[in-house]
């Protein structure tokens, strides 16, 4: 199994979720995070002070997927969240050793 971590722009969340739904992935965990990257230099203006807000709000998605579905999931996230502008984010794939569904104690791909 794989553990997919995606950092996306917040307003792309609904689109990504719909995209994943269309390929049958209906479970994920989302976190509000602050991203620091090339997209730096966005300035916010407070009383004329142009603060260089280096950390921008992003959404981090974490999705555990069966190996077979991994590429598809990455593809869907990529296409749904791409605007072509800087700051679109990244997708990371890690190896997942084990998964357990708390309610039923199912393990492995059944638990996803």
């Amino acid at each position: 199994m794989k553990f997919v971590i995606a950092i996306i722009k917040p307003f792309k969340l609904d689109e990504v979720r719909e995209g994943l739904h269309s390929i049958g992935v209906d479970a994920l965990t989302a976190t509000e995070v602050k991203g620091y990257g090339r997209q730096k230099g966005q300035t916010e203006i407070y009383r004329g002070a142009e603060y260089n807000i280096q950390f921008l709000p992003k959404i981090k998605l974490e999705i555990a997927v069966p190996d077979a579905q991994c590429d598809k999931v990455v593809e869907v996230i990529q296409s749904a969240s791409c605007t072509g502008k800087i700051g679109d984010g990244k997708i990371f794939v890690l190896d997942l050793l084990q998964a357990i569904r708390i309610r039923t104690q199912e393990t492995g791909e059944n638990a996803l």
Binding site: R47, G48, A49
Partner: protein, 458 residues
């Protein structure tokens, strides 16, 4: 040459209240019987007191707290709230007496220490209206009980040091703040208040400059003290580099709104009663605040492409500051001009000037209150309209003129110098004894946790 700030006009406001609008008090004044209070005037001054208190807590507390980082929100609220508590006691014990009783030209007397004798005017069946400095040539008759006058003035003594805290937010020790508040109010605020509003202050004795509701005593005083403090204490760690964006501007808007509403008590209350001058002061206050909000917003919109929430509320507060010395003396058109000018100038003060000079006036206590106060004091000399500021002694009142403008400028100068010098000495003295500033680690951790052991959970 020494200029005279506002007394005659100020007292004119009171005198108008006493003689003009309340029929009940007229006969009483004529006879030897002590003058009775006017219930309408008293009602309005009771309300004004509540409104000015609301300006500090929660108004100013929120206005400032909305602009700091999350780790300093509670500490910033704490500054205004604790100053409210501390100044009440200081004013009651000593401040009121030194400011508003007869003494000499430089400081009042001790006859009202601990508010001794304040209850004397209340007796079954006939409350006596307050006559400031009764029995002296400077006697000024009012139509309200002394207790109301004392409490109304107390709320001014509270908000002035609270305004200063904007300049050194996010880095001052709480113990230093307490000590600073007590001493500053007694050596800077109280004397200036006595010179200007007290019955026999030296500045008041030589009529010249006018100040309706405290542009000099409150706003220039606080703004200059803030500037000095920002310079003495230095910048916050990370200034200009780290992300200092406000945690939650919602609080700042609530604060600015309550400041605006409360300012009706500050300005219209300074008429001393519910009369035509109070009505006009309310109207000009509203107009100047709105005009300054619009003008800051437009200046910013043109310069940066986006009108910000922080901009429009800062502009409105700048307009409120600027109209303060003028409120009861100018016509609506003058108020509109004062507001439009103040909005643009404060925008420059809080952005251009500050960045040019490089000091860290964290929340623009000087940029808004200092600059706005000076703009307002000067423009009062331009837009004052005689009939509104008329008194018995000077029936034609004061009208805008070059001569008046110069008088206003001199009064500003006196306040600036006195305040700057004493504030500087006081801050240095505190720094050498208990220290002014938190440690670097405390500053990094945030004052909420390091000074007060509390945090916002969210």
């Amino acid at each position: 040459m020494i200029t005279k700030i506002g007394k005659s006009a100020r007292h004119a406001g009171l005198a108008a209240a006493a003689f003009g609008t309340s029929m009940a008090s007229l006969p009483a004044m004529a006879a030897d019987a002590p003058p009775a209070i006017d219930t309408g005037d008293t009602a309005w001054m009771l309300v004004s007191t509540a409104l000015v208190l609301m300006m500090t807590i929660p108004g100013l507390a929120l206005f400032y707290a909305g602009m700091v980082r999350k780790k300093n929100v509670l500490a910033t609220l704490m500054q205004s709230f604790s100053i409210c508590c501390i100044m009440t006691v200081v004013w009651m014990v000593l401040g009121y007496s030194l400011a508003f009783t007869s003494g000499n030209a430089f400081i009042g007397g001790l006859s009202r220490v601990m508010l001794n004798g304040l209850g004397a005017g209340i007796s079954k069946g006939s409350d006596v209206a307050f006559t400031m400095a009764a029995g002296t040539p400077a006697a000024t008759a009012m139509t309200i009980p002394e207790s109301v006058w004392m409490t109304f003035q107390m709320t001014f003594a509270i908000i002035t040091p609270a305004l200063i805290t904007g300049a050194f937010a996010e880095r001052m020790k709480f113990s230093a703040l307490c000590v600073f508040t007590i001493i500053w109010s007694l050596i800077v605020y109280v004397p200036v208040a006595h010179w200007v509003w007290g019955p026999d202050g030296w500045v008041a004795a030589k009529v010249g400059a006018i100040d309706f509701a405290g542009g000099t005593v409150v706003h220039i005083n606080a703004g200059i003290a803030g500037l000095v403090a920002a310079l003495v204490m230095g910048r916050r760690k990370g200034f200009g580099e780290d992300d200092f964006s406000p945690y939650n501007l919602t609080y700042a808007i609530i604060g600015a709104s309550l400041l605006w509403v409360g300012w009706f008590g500050f300005n219209a209350g300074s008429a001393g009663g519910a009369n035509g001058r109070a009505g006009m002061a309310m109207a000009t206050t509203q107009i100047a605040a709105a005009a300054a909000g619009v003008s800051w917003m437009c200046a910013e919109w043109m310069k940066t492409g986006k009108p910000t929430v922080l901009g429009i509320i800062s502009g409105a507060v700048g307009g409120l500051v600027a109209i303060t010395p003028a409120a009861g003396f100018v016509l609506p058109g003058g108020a509109l001009m004062i507001g439009l000018i103040a909005g643009v100038v404060c925008f420059w003060g809080a952005t251009g000037l500050k960045h040019m000079m490089g000091y860290d006036d964290s929340l623009d206590a000087f940029g808004v209150h200092g600059i706005g106060g000076i703009v307002g004091a000067l423009l009062t000399g331009v837009f004052a309209y005689g009939p509104l500021s008329a008194t018995d002694a000077s029936p034609e009142g004061v009208s805008g003129s070059f001569h008046q403008f110069i008088a206003q400028a001199e009064s500003v100068g006196i306040t600036v110098v006195w305040c700057a010098v004493l504030t500087f000495i006081l801050l240095k003295a505190i720094d050498l004894t208990i220290g002014l500033r938190v440690t670097r680690d405390e500053e990094m951790e945030g004052l909420d946790m390091s000074l007060h052991g509390e945090r916002i959970n969210s």
